[in-house]
Symmetry: C2
Subunit: 206 residues, 2 copies
């Protein structure tokens, strides 16, 4: 039951996924990428593609899922590292930016399909971003004692800032990326400060 067969299938499936990612990073959006070319780069016949995915869209959704998943895992690791001291904002954002640098192709897909193509694509992306927001929101409620409402407003704001900043990194070199990272840290601190001020404001006049 080792599945020498299933193992090989999984291998070519990964080859397809990698091929798609490569062709994405080269240039061009996901929609302008062809089944045939992806199959060619993966080293299989065009018609064999269908043994793995119903169509290109299904492959695309897989990419989105994988991207979101590994981002979340990375951030969770980062948060654990923080429990032994360190600025949560700095570490989280540095981790995020490193992720974007290492996964430019898929992250670009994420942002691009967020406002494009089919509805199912958009929903998939929204789902990933919602995961991100939810974890941040919980942190703000549990560790920083914000009200649900204010935590929700804050986490949504931060998500918008951070994902936009990720997009700003696409065309730039490492040096510029560090500048953007520092700027983003400042921006998130701006929001945190604003939320803190709002909390105090609400305490005085509830």
């Amino acid at each position: 039951m080792a599945g020498i067969r299933a193992k090989q299938k999984e291998k070519t499936r990964q080859a397809l996924i990698n091929a798609a990612m490569n062709q994405l990073s080269a240039e061009n959006g996901f929609s302008s990428l062809s089944l045939r070319e992806v199959a060619r780069e993966a080293g299989i016949a065009p018609t064999s593609f269908y043994r793995h995915f119903r169509d290109m869209d299904e492959l695309g959704l897989t990419l989105v899922d994988e991207c979101g998943l590994s981002l979340r895992q990375l951030l969770r690791q980062a948060r654990q590292r923080i429990e032994s001291g360190g600025s949560i904002i700095r570490v989280s954002i540095e981790t995020f930016m490193q992720f974007v640098a290492d996964n430019t192709a898929t992250f670009r897909l994420l942002l691009q399909e967020r406002s494009g193509r089919s509805r199912s694509f958009r929903l998939a992306v929204v789902r990933e971003i919602d995961h991100f927001k939810a974890e941040l929101e919980d942190y703000l409620v549990n560790e920083q004692s914000f009200t649900r409402e204010l935590a929700e407003l804050q986490s949504d704001t931060i998500a918008k800032i951070v994902f936009s900043a990720g997009a700003d990194c696409f065309d730039v070199d490492e040096e510029a990326r560090e500048i953007i990272t520092e700027k983003t840290i400042q921006q998130v601190r701006l929001v945190a400060r604003g939320a803190e001020a709002t909390r105090r404001l609400l305490k005085r006049q509830p």
Copy 2:
């Protein structure tokens, strides 16, 4: 010299632009839209397309430019209306959201090409967003007496929030759009409050 000829040319040029916008709004990203289909919808032969644009990319860049231009005009009008009283944040954001609702197709193009396709596309979009930020930044310096540095940080943050919020409006009905608008107003106020707090902080320890 009225140019009955030039007039006709401009007319079909607009027809091409409109056709492209229509096909954009239907679904699908810009890159998956074909010269032939655009020409067909505009009512001209495919080969006549070249009398107006070198290729589809040139048409796309034109769309981006027009979108940014009319957004800026609208916001400038809104700011004039404010001089006779009213919350600048509320009016600006409501105007912005109305613009997105009225120009979903091109605004989607803007956001999509921001993180996609060719470098020249991305730069064009960045340019439009920079215009937006610059006008906001000037306002913050001149009318609210912020330092350049803090105004820059603030305007960049707000631009990120507002453009992201615009993207959130794509799939939703009018009711949900109003909710998003209100949320965005709160978020921008959060940032403004954070910037205010930062300013005070810096005054105490410069």
